[in-house]
Assembly symmetry: D2
Homo-oligomer: 383 residues x 4
Amino acid sequence: MNIFKKHIMHVGEMASGAKLTVPVYSYKPKNNTAPNVYIQANMHGAEVQGNAVIFQLLELLKNCDIQSNITLVPYANPVACNHKNGEYTLGRFDPITGVNWNRMYHFDEAVITSFAQQNIDACEEEVSANFQQLLLDQIEQKLDHNIWGITTGQRIAYQLQRMAHKADLVLDLHTGPISSKHLYCPEYAKASANFFDIPHTIFIPNDFDGAMDESTFCPWWSLQQAYKNLNRNFVMGEGAFAKESFTVELGSQEQIDLDVAHQDALGILSYLQYKGVIDSQKKDYQPQKMTRYGCYLKDYKALYSPMGGMVDYLAEFGKPLPAGEPLARILRMDNYCGNESGDGNPLHNICLDRQVIPILHFASASVNQGTELYKVFSDYFEL
Amino acid sequence: MNIFKKHIMHVGEMASGAKLTVPVYSYKPKNNTAPNVYIQANMHGAEVQGNAVIFQLLELLKNCDIQSNITLVPYANPVACNHKNGEYTLGRFDPITGVNWNRMYHFDEAVITSFAQQNIDACEEEVSANFQQLLLDQIEQKLDHNIWGITTGQRIAYQLQRMAHKADLVLDLHTGPISSKHLYCPEYAKASANFFDIPHTIFIPNDFDGAMDESTFCPWWSLQQAYKNLNRNFVMGEGAFAKESFTVELGSQEQIDLDVAHQDALGILSYLQYKGVIDSQKKDYQPQKMTRYGCYLKDYKALYSPMGGMVDYLAEFGKPLPAGEPLARILRMDNYCGNESGDGNPLHNICLDRQVIPILHFASASVNQGTELYKVFSDYFEL
Amino acid sequence: MNIFKKHIMHVGEMASGAKLTVPVYSYKPKNNTAPNVYIQANMHGAEVQGNAVIFQLLELLKNCDIQSNITLVPYANPVACNHKNGEYTLGRFDPITGVNWNRMYHFDEAVITSFAQQNIDACEEEVSANFQQLLLDQIEQKLDHNIWGITTGQRIAYQLQRMAHKADLVLDLHTGPISSKHLYCPEYAKASANFFDIPHTIFIPNDFDGAMDESTFCPWWSLQQAYKNLNRNFVMGEGAFAKESFTVELGSQEQIDLDVAHQDALGILSYLQYKGVIDSQKKDYQPQKMTRYGCYLKDYKALYSPMGGMVDYLAEFGKPLPAGEPLARILRMDNYCGNESGDGNPLHNICLDRQVIPILHFASASVNQGTELYKVFSDYFEL
Amino acid sequence: MNIFKKHIMHVGEMASGAKLTVPVYSYKPKNNTAPNVYIQANMHGAEVQGNAVIFQLLELLKNCDIQSNITLVPYANPVACNHKNGEYTLGRFDPITGVNWNRMYHFDEAVITSFAQQNIDACEEEVSANFQQLLLDQIEQKLDHNIWGITTGQRIAYQLQRMAHKADLVLDLHTGPISSKHLYCPEYAKASANFFDIPHTIFIPNDFDGAMDESTFCPWWSLQQAYKNLNRNFVMGEGAFAKESFTVELGSQEQIDLDVAHQDALGILSYLQYKGVIDSQKKDYQPQKMTRYGCYLKDYKALYSPMGGMVDYLAEFGKPLPAGEPLARILRMDNYCGNESGDGNPLHNICLDRQVIPILHFASASVNQGTELYKVFSDYFEL
């Protein structure tokens, strides 16, 4: 039985001096013959189901034939995880600054070209090792504070990223607000999307916007492009560049379901087996058969509420909704018997002029004009 | 077709000078031959389903034979209704002071005895009219400000209460966090509980703790007691004292479901028909057949979490749960492989040593040690 | 030099499993010849200056001749202390429930009479020891959880109260929002108010409303009354009943000033020397000469804003303000050139019809109609 | 006497259907001979002093000889202005999404080059008129909703920007947290900085990051650059390009002081007189004599706290602080008698290795590791 080692990482201090800590579970096999793996959960405070998935992964991995280093980090953000306002967890951003916790990772495009020039003749192993070291050195330098310091969220994010940079495959476990399961996948890693038990995949371009997944694959993508400009060609996703990062959206926030977490863990093991992380001779973990839909990020659309009101969400997730069919009905009692201030219509259907697949909706029935109501695949294809 | 009249009530001002308003729908029949009715919804910000129920009541009442005055007030608390923190509505208390919005109504026990003494020989109609006027005068005096003023929440509550005091039957529509339907009913009004389509009723004593329901029936109960002490006996719930108030808990907060609201409205009409508010010759609105459980308030118990953690809520609402069966499992990843700081047990079952009926649970999967986890009937009986 | 011993008290757990801890500093002299002392700070999250006062007390006490046990507890409430919403600390209430953190202490009036009856002939030392033990046993029983558990705030409060019950003199260090220094003092302990360097004292009756100061002196007061009913007379504040508790309001919240804290600490040492806690032969710590005003709690009035708006606070703290002089001006730009929706008057003076002493005002310039604007002594006297 | 016209602008709807409104004050002289002016305040909820400045401007402008259109908008953001969490106003970001309210304005770089090409031979007046129309059309198109809608904050921001685009001089009135007065000024408008009564100016480059000031001058700067690339040269700040935008930081948030607002208004009139907006023959409004310091944005540095703790802010604003002198002392009681978990040092001085001018500091004494403690001019020069 495989024993995962646990250690406690310090990631910050609160006003009282209380230490912010994160538990880290890790396993190193005697012979490392496969890509290393990093999986974290709960960077956003309310998105807790990933912790249960890591629990189930730890249970399942006890009896797997593990071929490479695996690092698992639940409760990745202790500030967010413990921050309540009313009954709910204030999930997505630093309550002091408003900055999204998943937009604070580091990538400095400026170092790429000179690295490629300096390592133009390095062998593939050297390219891989040297570039990984460069990424780690950059994080180290940020953390090992310049005189101006870094933000609370950067201190947490950089310490997580330091672990992720040592891995080849990175999974960042999130959830939507009220949501179906979906996956963010780099366009070049399309083949892998079929190995998760997740029916909807959003393919993202190679641009860095501060998220964990981008912060770990974008540097390698940029490096590959820089080499290409210098007429040396590597294939992204292979060899030294066999790096893949995913944001896995497990469903709805503010929920723990250990049985569903077991299913989610099986889907992740299916991907890890496909990558050779667990011995693929046994073929234990196969992806489920399902219709998988893909969508490019540019076609993954947010619909903002055209009015304030009380929303009865109608559309079923994951199923194509014909043009003109209502996504939701909005109740506006102030319009009832609207002889003076209203338009006389207390119920409004929210429809679109094209067929879409609804993926998630807002967490509350009360919305302002301009609240993000739904996110949908506005153009999509089968995988 | 009955036409409800709408007017806009001003209940306060925000810092920008913006007026806080509440829509009021009212109907007065030519001949008033039955108890008057007051129904409000959404005093707590996140508890929105009552608005949809009022919408469905308005639709259904169009075609009823109405025998008395009916006043319907959705969006009763515009501060709470529009107050978001993160994606959720901060529901239960004034965000500045922390005071529960439903603990700000008025009742001054001190006036009861002297009223009874002064009206010891009044006929029943005079007792009823004079005492109602006293209650209204007291509210008026509070609102018509003394030099020290009143709080934001009192200004809202008193204006609502002023309307409720003019009615005989008062329904305050709320919801639980994640919850089954249940009803708060004064002990003396037990017979009425069978006319709602709600399977669980909590019988409350005649003590005033600041809530709308208490603020409207407790004065009458106290008056009846004062008369009894003066050897004049009235029957609570009959004649001049035919006053009933209920807090109707419609299910879970942060949700609008117009179809369920239609069902909820039918249940309320069943009660109103029983009371003669809508013509009972037709027998249109009959209560559903169901097993109804009752519980005294002292036996309606909150269970506070014995530890911090991530909760997988297991118990089904409304169904007796045998002693020793888990209400919930709490995940504590920091205890996993707890060689240093944990107890080695990452999963804890939360059980009780007696059979209970779970009624509602906390809205979030993340709880601190001491968060209210469940509310249950710890001792109960069939109605 | 006196060395205070430090230990870390566990007071709860957050959702991540993070332990909530409070540092406790204590000193026990070889011979205990004076009343024991308990001082805590920062029960409300934003009221931080007491921590600095405890720091300065620790520094000064190093070189005092200490005659009794002293326990000092900064950062008494780690949940509140670390809870930010925007840039400010959400101070006064549990963010989940809205309950004021300083209304969660314990006192069960029901045990008093039977204790007096059972200890009617006990000598004074026995009365003191037995009753203290009863209070501690009650706390222990609450903490040593009944099956239903206790709230997050009760768990913190009870553990603090357990330490306070072992002391005779209790100081709970708070601050107002934007505030002058003032003191809450039991009416029977009036003489002590002159030994603090605080110009304004509010004398409180012997009623329990959940606060730390009340929870430690009210039980003794009630016991003395119970004995009086049994015709045994003790003097409150003397002998076995030499118990005094104060809430010390150190000025404004959200501020640390170490120099002012040094002055505050000197004032506290003046009181402690008066009580014999530090050797009074030396007469090191004398109260400052100042005009001290007193006010009964019933005359300590909150003024709620008669309108929403932007407030220019004008009145000086601590100085009698003549009737008719403005406390504040409220700006209402929506009334400027009020041809349509306003009254044409953009500036409103807020005045009272009597002379008052302003003590504190609201922390923000933006107020709703009904926000607590000022607290004032409406009737007062020189001490 | 000049009469400003007031109208009420609708900028959105809340969940209850409540309309979000903003008052707009405007004046149009018979002959418009000078640059048009747009001034707004309170885009961030807690930054209220600008409302008082607009009040004083309205009072002073009554008696000025006004040469061009002036539009004044207090309470620009009704959502933020009315959003309390605890006693304070949650100021800087949308409480649902965390997005800074002053990062939601619009600028589409993509249209610049083609406009310049199509208007390469237009006369200066045509360039000015056509480009202003293009900017207005773009806003109109965004507001006149595409099927996906826009966010709550964009709807507010775009409606404000639409008014600002019609002006030549734009002032956005803000405040810091606890702050000295300072000014954000485009580098090309350096000469104007001397006409405000503000001692510290930050010169910002011509990059768009979503703020009001940038959204109004960056398009014109970009257009001037585009023309330069086409070999047609305009001078930024003159003729058709006489556009200037400033963010005016009036001091600390959560404060209204009408007397200081009068001074602030005089400083703004000094600038407006310099620009000919009010008749400069009279020379009524002259800038105060003071030492004015400038700093480039890249040298305006945030210092993040190296530890959690309680901060005694020491450094005086606006005065050069020598290298090594403490900006602040941080109290860490958990380190007191740090025999076990602390470093034994309860007080830490926060110093820098270079001379700086402190401009503002954090609003609360409680900081986490990584909270923005101070903002300082790290390199500066006299204007």
